[in-house]
Subunit: 242 residues, 2 copies
């Protein structure tokens, strides 16, 4: 009976995902766009450390990533950039992607334009939705975070970071787009490098910011579809000059 | 000497305005765009009523516009939509524009695409920047408001309303665009009708919302340039289907 219930639940989940996928494709109807369903993960404060590979105690790992960063002497060594976990891992830029995939099981998607479908937007803050995006020969990290900057008023912050140096990041422009209910919101900016801290980008508010009511207007059945596109900055500048 | 100082001040102001105008044009470089410099006005709570035409006492006029609205029996009668003043004026839709121009001295601009240049963004909340925009045979009201939804954390809210009925408003799409410092933020939506309340649009957050740090990133020397474009909804829907 238990087996039957679990199977039935799994089938229902699949149907639900399929339906969400269809709806996200309808919203961002450009042909050939990949839709990736991203499930939320609770942030550090409410979840014990899950960095299984590092196997350090919780006490050692509660330093925020930024502080980790200050302690790095080799500027090419990157502390773990996954903002969910207080992971004490440090490594060179070249191995950040494999660390994020293997240790934190963050998915990686290929394609110039993808749709990021964040589920369960109603979950309490702090919650993160994270994915990697492989495009134009580089890997990017998209972070959507629900956070209470002002107590009792959760907001959503979305930003894209290049898994590369700040100089490399300057060559790109990323665009995040929400489109639903006859409203459209677009944010375009140069990605930051993962050598900078995702926490400071979000606390500075230099990213796409949504209050709860706007997030609800753009959500469908508790899921938020964000269209993502990455271009090289030259294209962006040419557009400005038009 | 006083005369000389004043003249010199006026000349400096003109040079400053000219310079701002030039910069706003450079940011939104499409040829033929009108740039309108919009000065701020403090909101009701801090400024006495300035509705000279109505000549009522402050006590009578402190009812917020929404409450006025509830008291209207003829649905075609519109309370004064200028959110700055607790103006007890009521009139039919057809005369709202002339009332706003004559009594509140709100400028009206012609053109499909204009640039709204709000000055003195540093002024404390509540502050409003308002302009009328004549386009596609209709008049629209653009309201930019600085308000503290959360104490000590002022935010900027921008919305566009049609001086017409909700059914007429459904035929249009407005776009607000900020573009500076390699960042671009676009908001597109159907305008609301002035028969609805601008206060509720802003308190619902169903508009372009900027926190202080984003507003600073998009500002230049304390002025914020907002590109405005209005299209008919058919164009917008056709774009969606592409």
């Amino acid at each position: 009976m238990l087996f039957f219930t679990q199977c039935f639940g799994a089938v229902l989940d699949l149907i639900h995902l399929r339906f969400q996928h269809y709806k996200a494709k309808r919203v961002f109807s450009a042909a050939g766009q990949l839709v990736c369903v991203v499930n939320p993960t609770h942030s550090l404060k409410y979840a014990p450390t899950r960095c299984a590979a590092a196997q350090t105690s919780v006490e050692q790992s509660v330093l925020p990533p930024c502080h980790h960063h200050e302690a790095v002497h080799d500027p090419q060594l990157v502390p773990c950039m996954c903002p969910l976990f207080s992971c004490p891992w440090e490594g060179h830029l070249e191995v950040v992607v494999s660390h994020l995939r293997q240790t934190h099981r963050i998915n990686i998607l290929q394609g110039a334009e993808i749709v990021f479908l964040a589920t369960d937007m109603h979950l309490p803050a702090p919650t993160d939705w994270i994915i990697m995006h492989s495009c134009l020969g580089h890997q990017f990290l998209l972070v959507l975070r629900k956070q209470e900057k002002y107590e009792g008023h959760p907001q959503f912050f979305a930003t894209m970071m290049l898994i590369g140096t700040p100089t490399q990041a300057d060559n790109f422009t990323y665009r995040l787009e929400l489109n639903r209910n006859q409203r459209r919101l677009k944010w375009e900016a140069t990605p930051r490098s993962v050598l900078e801290c995702v926490d400071s980008v979000i606390s500075d508010g230099d990213c796409l910011v949504l209050n709860t009511s706007l997030a609800q207007l753009f959500s469908d059945n508790g899921s938020l579809a964000i269209g993502i596109a990455i271009t090289t900055s030259k294209v962006h500048n040419a557009e400005d000059e038009m």
